[in-house]
């Protein structure tokens, strides 16, 4: 483990960043200096001070507190998205691979159709139809990304199922589905965890991008993408309003990418090298 860390010097700081983000999200009330929604026009665009480490935004709100609370929206939405994708892909892809036959054929056709569309555009379209808001952003991103994951799960199940049948045939009898689940699920879960971690960064970029466009989190809820969108007109006068939230996104995405890369190199270097998403 120590050797692993020493060979990849970025992993430790990345873990620290992720831990810090989690802390921010979980303990936001304790870590923030102020109510993120409290406006105070008198403090408009105030410079950094002791009480306000990063100053105030154009409505006098504490930038630092909004960053801290913003982690909830950013991390929370990505967590929900990942959970949704994994549940959907495991059930659909797993069933497809395990049952085979007509079910498999039908499911694969559906996946093919979903994958015909450019993912971000499709998510945009879904949001346009369903309406704006963080919930719909989560739904849209899950709906556009699950098919790729389902395919991966199905592929792994097919491989393992073949091995499993051979094994079970030897160990006479007792090839109950339960046994299969116990033997097939763990290795797949491991590989899927790697793929998911590799993708967290992408999801964060999608969520913040959609929020920046005003299609995701709605003001006044703090979220890093929304904060940038709000501050566009202050590019010349108060660039820090754009700088800090963007920096948070950048550092978070980079941290998750470092972890994802390290996990992949550790477990299986050939796994999904630059996996083919139409991001």
């Amino acid at each position: 483990m120590i050797r692993f860390l020493r060979r990849r010097p970025l992993v430790a700081p990345a873990l620290a960043v992720v831990a810090f983000l989690l802390a921010m999200a979980l303990f936001a009330p304790q870590l923030a200096t102020d109510d993120p929604d409290r406006t105070d026009i008198g403090r408009k665009l105030a410079p950094p001070s002791l009480s306000e480490p990063l100053g105030a935004d154009h409505l006098g709100r504490s930038i630092y507190s909004r960053l801290v609370y913003g982690s909830r929206a950013s991390l929370g939405s990505v967590a929900l998205i990942m959970a949704g994708i994994l549940v959907l892909s495991f059930t659909v892809g797993g069933a497809s691979g395990y049952l085979g036959g007509a079910v498999d054929g039908a499911v694969m056709r559906v996946c093919d159709v979903v994958l015909t569309f450019p993912t971000f555009i499709l998510a945009l379209f879904l949001i346009g139809i369903l309406g704006t808001g963080l919930t719909n952003v989560v739904i849209a991103i899950v709906a556009t990304h699950w098919a790729w994951y389902a395919r991966m799960v199905r592929g792994m199940v097919l491989q393992l199922r073949h091995r499993e049948h051979v094994l079970a045939a030897r160990v006479a009898g007792a090839s109950a589905p339960g046994l299969a689940v116990r033997h097939i699920l763990p290795p797949i879960a491991g590989q899927m965890a790697v793929l998911a971690t590799l993708d967290i960064g992408h999801m964060m970029l999608h969520v913040s991008g959609l929020s920046f466009l005003g299609l995701g989190v709605q003001p006044p809820t703090p979220e890093w993408g929304v904060m940038i969108g709000d501050a566009r007109q202050f590019l010349r006068t108060a660039p820090q309003l754009i700088l800090f939230p963007g920096l948070m996104i950048f550092l978070s995405v980079m941290a998750f990418n470092v972890l994802g890369d390290a996990l992949r190199d550790h477990l299986d270097p050939h796994l999904a090298q630059e996996h083919g998403h139409g991001h």
Binding site: T116, F120, F125, I129, P239, F250, N257, G276, G278
Partner: protein, 315 residues
């Protein structure tokens, strides 16, 4: 090879048909009453009488299949309805804004392909050198930076601070630079990594050694033998970039007020202008499908093993 191309082309209408069906079905998921939205956006009072008229205009009184058939028929004539907001034919609006997006995406694609090749090759040839580490570092950062934030950083530096470039709008090349760079960043980073990885694999093939043994100059060995063979396995990844560029354009256009189809689509979302949104979806997907098809065909054409595999094989 020709059989493959013909087969893919024959399948194309099927794909486009399926796409249109999916789009139509998703449209029906929209909450709310389209007749109400139509009236509201056209600023007609929603009386019962007007609602009935709106329903008839929008064809909502017929069955789903009939609606789809009618819709498909109109789509085949490139009639995608009229914008709820402007009342003008949607296809005209989309085609009006599309060239700007294509210009932006095209410039970004050129930047991606043009820069990723020398960077990826240099990084692979001088493995673990400063050039390699810097390239990998930049590529890694490029994959992690939000393109809209990067756009604002560029605009702040080159426009607000240095005053070298105009901050927004479309015009000459000086207005294209920053948006194209912002959009290209992700694809450039990904492609550089891909080229580097593929070069590292190709470098050790024996035909490289043999080319040197024949006295072929090193420059030719690197570009004609290593690079060309390294490109082939990652050719299909270029299709991936198109998808990313189309999606990213929507965001970057907003940052720089670039008058493209993406910005138009975003405003149509705000306005719940469904005809515009649906036409946008269809057009962008069609472009995406065609680009992927072109790349797949290029792949088969480029590799002689695929190109000639159906002909008389070994002598």
């Amino acid at each position: 090879m020709y059989r493959y191309i013909l087969r893919r082309l024959a399948f194309l209408p099927v794909i486009l048909f399926t796409v249109s069906l999916v789009v139509f079905l998703i449209l029906r998921l929209a909450p709310g009453d389209p007749a109400q939205s139509y009236l509201r956006l056209s600023q007609i009072p929603p009386t019962a009488e007007n609602l009935a008229m709106a329903r008839e205009v929008l064809g909502l009184d017929k069955s789903v299949t009939a609606q789809y058939a009618a819709w498909l028929g109109r789509a085949a004539r490139l009639d995608f309805g009229r914008s709820y907001v402007t009342g003008r034919p949607v296809i005209d609006e989309i085609l009006h804004y599309l060239p700007a997006t294509l210009e932006l995406a095209g410039a970004s694609l050129l930047i991606t392909l043009g820069l990723s090749a020398p960077l990826g090759v240099a990084a692979a040839l001088r493995r673990n050198s400063l050039v390699d580490h810097m390239t990998r570092g930049l590529a890694f950062a490029g994959v992690s930076i939000p393109n809209f934030w990067f756009g604002f950083l560029l605009a702040w530096l080159f426009s607000a601070e240095l005053g070298w470039l105009p901050p927004l709008g479309r015009g000459g090349p000086e207005r294209l630079v920053m948006p194209a760079l912002s959009l290209a960043l992700m694809s450039l980073a990904v492609n550089t990594r891909l080229i580097r990885a593929s070069m590292l694999e190709t470098m050790h093939h024996r035909f490289v050694l043999y080319a040197r043994a024949r006295g072929v100059p090193e420059r030719m060995v690197v570009w004609r033998h290593m690079f060309v063979n390294a490109l082939i396995p990652i050719l299909t990844a270029t299709g991936m970039h198109v998808g990313e560029l189309l999606g990213g354009a929507v965001v970057v256009e907003s940052v720089f007020s670039w008058p493209g189809v993406g910005r138009y689509a975003v405003s149509s979302i705000y306005n719940r202008d469904f005809p515009v949104l649906q036409c946008f979806m269809l057009v962008m997907t069609a472009i995406f499908v065609l680009c992927n098809l072109a790349v797949d065909i290029a792949y088969v054409v480029a590799d002689p093993r695929m190109r000639l595999s159906n002909q008389a094989g070994r002598l």
